[in-house]
Symmetry: C2
Subunit: 340 residues, 2 copies
């Protein structure tokens, strides 16, 4: 029955010799092809369009590796693109580094690489250089991926916490909690009536439009680990303003809310992988909203609150349906390990 | 006795909430401080000195984490600097991404971060952005590190395989096999009379001098996984030339040779972490050698062979002490998993 056995990754695939070379040429390159990568140097040489760049990195350890709406490969490309996008840049080049556990199915690795290649092409970024390491069975959990990336800063665009002022509006490009609740429900083996799906998406096309067309975007961050609550709390930390958001204006899918209620999570703390939070000037808020709503990744966009004067410590507060207020704290971080 | 227990990394340290923020501020930032990093955005914004850059990435999974001559942190900084350096660039900025196993000793993590910070400072590169992930106990082996990096290409310097010509000389900046034999002997718990030490070092200062002062450097690569044998074989792959090296001219420490003989390894296949192989024009070979020898990281530099006309398939051949010739093959890759 040996012929039915799936091909598996061997330790020697990470040894830097014949098998590494074969893995790169036969499995990796076909999915990621581009001129810079094909030279197979230890570094990619690039000619950038500007000297003003953004640089970012993220490692991805999500479990399970494949989930409704995406997989670790798509996530690794989108996540790094989004970090570059919200900083006010247009992503151009990514690096890709794999740590693979001995015995991992070659077929699964190929699915992941195919997903990485497709997502990168769709987002007009190139994977220009990479690295492959292997570790013994039991020394990693399947595959971990690191992507680092370079973006070219958009001319005249300079988002920063220091530009935020009382009266500015808080904009989000759609529903929250989709990614995190999808992962946790798949992990727990729970099926909900309407199947949940991750919002995993590359946001650069939308964010570049917003920065370039609207003008009044003062700050932007993607709401990943720690969810909306973490992003808003990072904004007010050490600031002389607070943030007030309105419960009724925050877009949440009923199925996501139901799953969170059932499992005892606060959706505000749940990770997203295709959502940004933007602070926009009051004068441009409606224009920003309509730019979002005319884009496939912003159809459910909403203005969910304001920057307010702080009395004492700067707080994030949620105005509830019945008119009360509660403080939204920085999550502790224990909610969901390996969410991305 | 709880007060004697070492502090350990918790899953929540990677959750993106309070504990992640605390880990970054209290443990990571103090060792890596610089302006770009301190803004703690998801991306670092940089103003480069040129639009011509090199970009690279490597993940490090070395075992053991601490070894004679270095540790995984020093290795992660030096390795990425070296990939940028041999491509003909001056490294300027690195990213740092940690994957930490739950329960890893906080004190060890701090030692690694301290080493990363020191190595980066000594090499005049900044760690400008980063990421921290945690995985459950048993899902990784202590800590894995990814560093990606940007280098500014040296003006007028354009190394490439296509520039290599018959008659060019092969230069190496010192003894081979030190890193790999150190790791394997520590792993096997073998003590040799003279203690082995890794050659782990950042080569950019030396390589920039060579590229800028000598002019005749046509190609350069660092001899890491797969050792000297892998680098030379990569050079001849698909080429219309061969490479001949001379056994007697290759610098090898007697203790390294003894360890390799005893354990059954071919030193040519053993990883280095502070060695480059350069192809230099015959006219500049002596100048290149003397630039190396006047630098602390090139004291044992040697011209070890030549580029030769190939008869049929391009081969790497070793001329032995007694005048014979043997083919140096691309190593299979099984020699030493987790060497870097």
């Amino acid at each position: 029955m040996a012929h039915d056995e799936p091909q598996r990754v061997l330790l020697a695939h990470g040894g830097g010799g014949q098998l590494t070379s074969q893995l790169i040429r036969e499995l990796i390159l076909p999915h990621l092809k581009n001129e810079a990568l094909s030279s197979l140097g230890d570094s990619a040489c690039l000619e950038l369009a500007s000297t003003s760049i953004c640089l970012t990195t993220d490692s991805y350890v999500v479990k399970p590796l494949f989930f409704h709406g995406g997989d670790i490969g798509k996530l690794a490309v989108c996540g790094t693109i989004n970090d570059l996008a919200v900083a006010g840049s247009r992503p151009v080049a990514l690096t890709l580094s794999l740590i693979v556990e001995e015995g991992f199915e070659m077929g699964l690795l190929e699915r992941i690489l195919e997903s990485i290649g497709r997502t990168a092409r769709e987002s007009h970024v190139s994977i220009v250089t990479g690295d492959t390491k292997t570790v013994e069975r039991g020394s990693a959990d399947g595959v971990f991926i690191n992507t680092a990336g370079i973006g070219i800063r958009l001319p005249g665009v300079n988002p920063g916490l220091d530009r935020i002022a009382v009266g500015d509006r808080i904009l989000i490009n759609g529903t929250i909690g989709d990614h995190g609740m999808t992962i946790i429900s798949q992990r727990e083996g729970i099926r909900f009536e309407s199947r949940l799906a991750s919002d995993c998406a590359a946001l650069a096309d939308l964010t570049c439009r917003l920065f370039e067309q609207a003008g009044g975007v003062k700050f932007m961050r993607d709401a990943t680990r720690g969810g909306l609550a973490a992003v808003l709390n990072e904004m007010v930390e050490g600031a002389d303003f607070g943030i007030e958001i309105r419960d009724t204006d925050i877009p949440i899918k009923p199925s996501v809310q139901a799953a969170a209620d059932m499992l005892g999570f606060d959706v505000l703390n749940i990770a997203n992988e295709g959502k940004f939070v933007a602070v926009v000037s009051p004068a441009t808020a409606d224009a920003c909203l309509s730019i979002c709503r005319s884009h496939p990744l912003g159809r459910d966009a909403a203005l969910i609150g304001e920057v307010v004067a702080s009395q004492g410590a700067p707080l994030v507060e949620l105005r509830t349906k019945i008119g009360g207020k509660r403080i939204v704290q920085m999550p502790y971080g224990r909610e969901l390990p390996r969410i991305c």
